[in-house]
Amino acid sequence: MKRLDLIVSERELESVIKALDEAGAPGYSVIRPVTGRGPDTYVTEGMDFSGLGANAHVIVFCEIEVLEKLRVSINPILNYYGGVAYVAEASPL
């Protein structure tokens, strides 16, 4: 099994989840709000009041085939709007 960690803006969460559903991910978990920094962006809780929100952390445990599909649907979102996605190994307890 694989483990995918996605960190995206809360604003893109909906489209990321749609992509997960369409790629056949067996499930996912979402943690928010997440703050952070990228190479040239900076996200704090400060904009919470405005609805702009902060980031969300999405964890997906899935087979490698699902990742292939996600690569196609999610990478463009990350490239356009920002965010990171990393894959690691994971095995059920």
Binding site: R11, T44, G46, M47, D48, F49, S50, G51, A54
Partner: protein, 339 residues
């Protein structure tokens, strides 16, 4: 002679405004950032305050609307304010293009076309403290000025950027309209307005029970919220400094210019003192709610550092401290006393 009086008046107004609890709490938040004090209002508490403020201001507006009716200047004033939300971005865009690319210029312009609900609320408080009357219907534009500003912003991007953009093939206007009109906050203020209106007519007992919540409690929450906004604005101001002098000047001079236009239009509309000030605030304040959210989605090429930081880091504090009393002085000069 008249100018001297007016100027003296301004100084008194500025003082009365700057030394009011709401502005002092704003400063308290800002100074905390400067001194690096460990003061933090964690999420989602600021959201609680902003939801409450929008709900209460909408409800109060609806109550006033039910009492005053929709006759007279109401429809025309609302219509003109919506028009202003489309015209102001055009002016801003021309100025911003001197230094910024199309994307950033359009995003900042949209921000200034729209409004800041909290600045509006602060202006209402100011009027109450000055015992100047105003009408409840002035709340309606708060819910109506976001969409035109966003749409004009996007049209500017379309016209201005020659090459095709990745997200824009068959660009989903539906999505944009949805985002601009069904933004949670716009929806809440509009909905609360309608509820305040309906309930005033059909459920006086309910309205009466609502009153302590929307009145007595209001100013304290505003102070609490402004404490947080002071923190946020000071953080954003640091960002703004990196963006350079042009944007700093823009973030102060543009609101003043928009206030002037607003004042002239208010005079042409024949608005009274109170309504004229609120109309000016609608013109001169800049959005940090629905517009940035829509811009992030539709113009990701623009850097949020620019459009959020200018609105929040400078225009917002300027309007809250000096702007409101300054514009009141403007109102006294422009509007004939008889109204």
């Amino acid at each position: 002679m008249i100018t001297a009086t007016a100027t003296a008046l301004d100084a008194g107004l500025v003082l009365a405004n700057v030394l009011s609890p709401k502005v002092l709490f704003f400063f308290l938040g800002a100074i905390a950032v400067l001194l690096n004090a460990d003061l933090e209002i964690p999420a989602p508490l600021p959201k609680l305050f902003s939801l409450y403020l929008l709900m209460a201001v909408g409800f109060r507006g609806g109550m006033a609307l039910a009492k005053d009716g929709l006759g007279g200047q109401v429809i025309i004033t609302i219509a003109v304010s919506v028009l202003m939300a489309a015209v102001i971005p055009l002016i801003c865009f021309c100025i911003l293009r001197l230094r910024f690319d199309v994307f950033n210029a359009a995003a900042i312009s949209a921000t200034y076309g729209s409004i800041s609900a909290v600045t509006f609320i602060a202006a209402e408080s100011f009027l109450q403290a000055q015992n100047i009357s105003y009408d409840g219907f002035m709340v309606a534009p708060l819910a109506l000025m976001e969409s035109p500003a966003i749409i004009v912003g996007l049209v500017l991007v379309r016209l201005g950027s020659r090459q095709a953009r990745p997200g824009s093939d068959g660009m989903n206007w539906r999505k944009v309209l949805h985002e601009s009109m069904l933004n949670g906050y716009v929806y809440l203020i509009a909905g609360s307005l309608v509820i305040g209106f309906i309930a005033s007519i059909y459920s006086p007992a309910g309205v009466e029970k609502m009153e302590p919540f929307v009145y007595k409690f209001f100013y304290g929450v505003l102070c609490f919220f402004l404490l947080d906004m002071g923190i946020v604005a000071a953080q954003r101001f640091k960002d703004l400094k990196k963006a350079g002098a042009f944007l700093i000047f823009f973030a102060i001079l543009m609101p003043m210019f928009n206030a002037l236009i607003g004042g002239l239009v208010a005079r042409a509309l024949g608005l009274g003192y109170g309504n004229a000030l609120l109309f000016i605030i609608l013109c001169s304040s800049a959005s940090y709610i629905a517009v940035p959210t829509a811009m992030r989605m539709t113009v990701p090429e623009a850097n949020p550092r620019y459009y959020i930081s200018s609105a929040l880091g400078l225009t917002f504090p300027f309007n809250h401290t000096i702007g409101i009393p300054l514009y009141m002085g403007l109102v006294y000069k422009l509007i004939p006393a008889s109204i």
